[in-house]
């Protein structure tokens, strides 16, 4: 991660909890210390509270290393996200506080548009028209176009310098398979960064994955890091 410079744009996979989140890579990025990062992610850090007494009812209540850690370490200056804040205003995230103090930029993007913009970035698409956001604040300043009688707005692709993703298993070519609902943004982020780094539970030899079940072909993956501790989230 030494080549992650100040000012880099980082895609970071996340959705609803620790599943599919590259938590060990985020710890490494915190230790590495690059500043002024732009984070492209579904959520900009979780709410940072410890598991509630007893059994947590949702995965989002679980504590795990996430972007909040980078925010608290003063490394984040901008976010592009669909869940930028805590679900509860009484427990604001570190990023939310930073943003409300005017110390960070924020672009809120509908989740499907975020996914499609990332996919477009990886697929060499220069932009696309979507109906999502028409008539809302998401459409302000964007090109509108009526296509077959429906109104659409123009959305641009997203790319990043680095994508930090998580998969269940990689082979040494970088082919990846995921684990149930922890797939989410990982496969598309893998395609849309100059350097994709994946954190996996296990690395196998080529042939060790079912070729029909490989979701991310290794062409999209530059570096593979095996998780160091079992059971850690």
């Amino acid at each position: 991660m030494k080549d992650i410079r100040d000012g880099a744009t980082m895609m970071v996979a996340s959705f609803g909890g620790p599943g599919g989140a590259p938590s060990q890579l985020l710890v490494a990025l915190r230790d590495q210390g690059a500043k002024n990062l732009t984070i492209i992610s579904n959520s900009v850090g979780m709410y940072g509270f410890d598991p509630e007494p007893g059994v947590p009812k949702t995965a989002t209540a679980l504590s795990f290393p996430n972007v909040t850690m980078l925010v608290e370490n003063g490394q984040v200056s901008k976010a592009i996200a669909s869940f930028p804040v805590s679900p509860s205003s009484s427990r604001p995230t570190a990023f939310e506080k930073l943003y409300l103090e005017g110390k960070a930029e924020l672009e809120v993007v509908p989740q499907g548009t975020l996914a499609e913009r990332i996919r477009a970035g990886g697929a060499g698409i220069g932009g696309f028209f979507t109906r999502t956001g028409v008539g809302t604040r998401m459409a302000v300043g964007k090109e509108h176009r009526v296509i077959d009688g429906e109104e659409y707005i123009f959305e641009k692709p997203l790319r990043a310098d680095f994508a930090l993703i998580r998969a269940l298993r990689a082979d040494t070519y970088g082919n990846l398979i995921y684990n149930m609902t922890s797939r989410h943004f990982n496969p598309i982020m893998a395609t849309a960064a100059n350097v994709t780094i994946v954190e996996v539970d296990e690395i196998v030899e080529p042939g060790g994955l079912d070729s029909e079940a490989i979701v991310t072909p290794g062409v999209f993956v530059k570096r593979i890091v095996k998780r160091t501790r079992e059971g850690d989230q």
């Binding site: 009812k57 995965a59 989002t60 975020l114 499609e116 990332i118």
Partner: protein, 221 residues
């Protein structure tokens, strides 16, 4: 006798709308509860934005909680034969491409024309838009389930939404703790009403003028 409907009752009423074979997306909150009340004899498969169709009920035993098997609200779900997993791009291709038969979302405000505001409370200033805008635009049929009024007793069904919109003219049906209301080209049609309430009482907490259905009845469960 005269009590607003409970959240689970609202969810039960919503679930009656599900037809056999429907692919349904449920938003966080009351919508999620509807998954427990699919009418007997109907097979409904649920879609979740993070990337699955056909999951089972919420996990009831903490021992089976798996961080890799959750719905879009972060709740732990369970496997069911025939479940499929996919990434966010395909998940929203399903949503945006018009492949969801029904979506159920919560609401802060709904307008007379079916505009929905459900993501940003202006008092807070920032909010999580999530997948709501995509779902509101993409679902073939959108049901909004919410309390009929705010905690302060103000109408949430308005001539015009005053909060930031999620999508325009997207809502097909509104289910509240007082009424079931169809959004039609002619306006809002009051179809069903909570036991013990009168049309006038519902109208009193609804800003736009309601059209009373000729076959108006008690909310059917």
């Amino acid at each position: 006798m005269k009590a607003r409907l409970e959240r689970t009752t609202m969810a039960l009423r919503v679930a009656k709308e599900f037809q056999d074979g429907d692919i349904v997306n449920l938003g966080i909150g009351i919508p999620t509860l509807a998954s427990d009340f699919v009418p007997e004899g109907r097979t409904v498969l649920f879609h979740t934005e993070n990337g699955a169709i056909g999951f089972g009920p919420l996990a009831s035993d903490p021992a089976e909680y798996d961080i890799n098997l959750i719905n879009a609200g972060g709740q732990f779900i369970t496997l069911m034969p025939g479940i499929s997993f996919f990434d966010s791009a395909l998940s929203f291709a399903i949503v945006r491409g018009g492949h969801l038969d029904v979506a159920v979302l919560g609401g802060l405000q709904v307008s007379e024309r079916g505009d929905l505001a459900n993501w940003l409370n202006p008092r807070r200033g920032v909010g999580n838009v999530g997948g709501g805008m995509d779902i509101a635009v993409g679902a073939k049929r959108l049901i909004v389930v919410m309390e009929h009024t705010t905690k302060e007793g103000e109408p949430k069904i308005l001539r015009e939404c005053t909060y930031e919109l999620t999508a325009k003219e997207c809502v097909d049906l509104i289910v509240t703790d007082l009424a079931v209301i169809d959004v039609t080209k002619d306006g809002l049609v009051l179809k069903e009403i909570a036991p013990g309430y009168t049309v006038e009482e519902v109208q009193a907490v609804t800003e736009p003028k309601l059209i009373v259905a000729t076959d108006i009845r008690e909310i059917e469960l």
